[in-house]
């Protein structure tokens, strides 16, 4: 198709114009990342807002080191990683099981349960966050990894995405297994899960990005035992105590690396997952 369009002379200017627009947005998307980098690695006398190129790498490095030592960013990163992993593990098990039942079976109450699932996609955490906090506290889970992770692992979107992947699986495998007398969960663990690799990666990566960026819930439930990255960074915006802006930028730069890395490594899956959440509109 592109070649056909390009073949039409009157469209060529249009194409060039469109390409320019697209590249402008690309620049707008990527430039701020460069800005953070160049502002961090600029000398203390450079005006940060106009630091277009890094002019003092050593100074920037000292800010990175300071971010790690003074702000204890290492512990924060570790804790955030741990509760993100727990949330992922919990999501992978519960959501794929639920998706399995919804995709392959008919049962009384299916419509109701599915409506409940879809409805809960609409309910934002912020609306019930205070009662939720008390609930988690009463369970003795406040300020624990599990306490942060449990509410975050409830992911209707993951169920939805995994269902899309399951629909593409060949049903003959399941039928054959049923004929052989394999049990309900045996089929799930030994036939469905191994074929669901891509689906699980997609759901995992999307959840990882959202848990890493979660702010409101960790700000309530974390504290001494667990330290969340988003809270540590947002704390630095508090005007009543001073953090060197370059240290803050260094911390932001570090906080940004894991999600960007995950995105770059699993780009195909992220994009597929996002597309899936919309395609079935």
């Amino acid at each position: 198709m592109p070649s056909r369009i390009a073949g039409k002379k009157r469209s060529r200017t249009g194409i060039i114009l469109m390409a320019v627009l697209a590249f402008i947005w690309l620049l707008a998307s990527l430039y701020p990342l460069w800005m953070i980098f160049s502002a961090t690695f600029s000398s203390d006398s450079t005006n940060m807002s106009t630091a277009l190129v890094p002019d003092d790498l050593a100074n920037g490095w000292s800010k990175v080191v300071e971010a790690f030592t003074a702000l204890d960013l290492g512990t924060t990163l570790r804790d955030t990683l741990i509760f993100t992993l727990i949330a992922i593990a919990g999501m992978a098990l519960t959501s794929s099981l639920a998706a399995y039942e919804f995709t392959f079976f008919e049962f009384p109450g299916k419509k109701f349960l599915f409506a409940m699932l879809m409805g809960s996609m609409m309910l934002p955490l912020v609306l019930y966050v205070v009662p939720l906090y008390r609930q988690v506290f009463n369970m003795g889970l406040a300020d624990s990894y599990l306490g942060v992770a449990l509410p975050l692992m409830v992911s209707p979107l993951s169920v939805f995405i995994l269902m899309q992947f399951m629909e593409d699986l060949p049903r003959s495998f399941i039928e054959a297994a049923q004929v052989d007398g394999a049990g309900h969960f045996r089929i799930f663990f030994f036939i469905v899960v191994p074929m669901l690799r891509n689906g699980l990666i997609t759901a995992t990566v999307l959840l990882a990005l959202s848990v890493w960026g979660a702010f409101l819930w960790p700000s309530l439930v974390t504290g001494e035992e667990v330290k969340a990255l988003s809270v540590a960074i947002a704390n630095m915006f508090n005007p009543n105590f001073y953090v060197d802006p370059r240290v803050r930028f260094a911390a932001m730069l570090i906080a940004m690396i894991p999600p960007l890395l995950v995105y770059i490594l699993f780009q195909r899956h992220v994009i597929k997952g996002v597309a899936m959440s919309g395609v079935k509109g």
Partner: protein, 325 residues
Amino acid sequence: MGRTSHRSRNEPAPNRRLPLKTRIARSLPIYIGLAPFFVLLIVFVGTPMVYGLAMSFTDWSVSSRSTLHFVGLENYLYILSGEGLGSTRFLKSLLNLAVYVPITVAIGLGVSLGLALIVHNLPRRFQSFLRSGFFVPTAIPLFLCVGIWLWLMDSENGLVASNLAKLGIGVDVNWVNTAGWAIALIIFIDVWHSVGFNFVIFSTGMQEISEDLYEAADLDGANVFQKMWNITIPMMEPIIFFVITYSLISALQVYDIPQILTSGSDPNSVGGPNQVMLFPVMEMVRNVRIGGEAALGRAAAEGVILMVIIIAVTFIMFKLRRKKV
């Protein structure tokens, strides 16, 4: 979204003629499989939700924890009355929401759909490259986006703000604290963050449109723009509908950006001077922080009102769609 027609073609469906009891008994393993997810859903979503709803009819507060009173609709009447600080602030936050939501959804939709149409018509080798780049801001957590944009919108030197000022937009304006501009700032950040997400949805959807349609249009001598208007957009209608609905729902809950931009040690300063950046969720959190009589009950009532708005908007969207089809 919301489609339940996953007919299992091969699985022998439980015979509808069997009595319900038997069908339930036969489905036992299925319920066991659903249990982990639904238990979590009920414990961590359903219960707090219902609890919050119930508490919105009480004078729930920190100090009166031991003696909780049922107060009927008092919390609702208070926050909607227009009398008193909690009420004027909440109404102002709804007003801000009414300005913010349509604009941010429209701009977000326009930019992402426009980009998707453009990229769809560009040579393939650019497509995946551009898509990867466009999604980067979406992969960055919102709390970091705020930190980045504070610098870009610094009115003295910030790259974006100073260039806008050269064009005569926002000269000598502090974007964070000035009425109108504050909402524009949040829209900037939100659009920048969310375009990648919507773009990917649109762009994938466009790839699934059959080539035959375009070929037929080529035979009719249609140009690029005619094809966009007559084929791409109509074929994308369901996806556009989904994106609008989804964007509306998330825009109604706006919290992270304005909260981080205006938070300080004083709960009443949240939202900026004259509440230029105050939104309902922030007002809920303020109620939690100030304590006082029935503060938590009011926060819960505000949550319920916001939820009703979200449900109503979603309902209207589905109604509109049904009418069209």
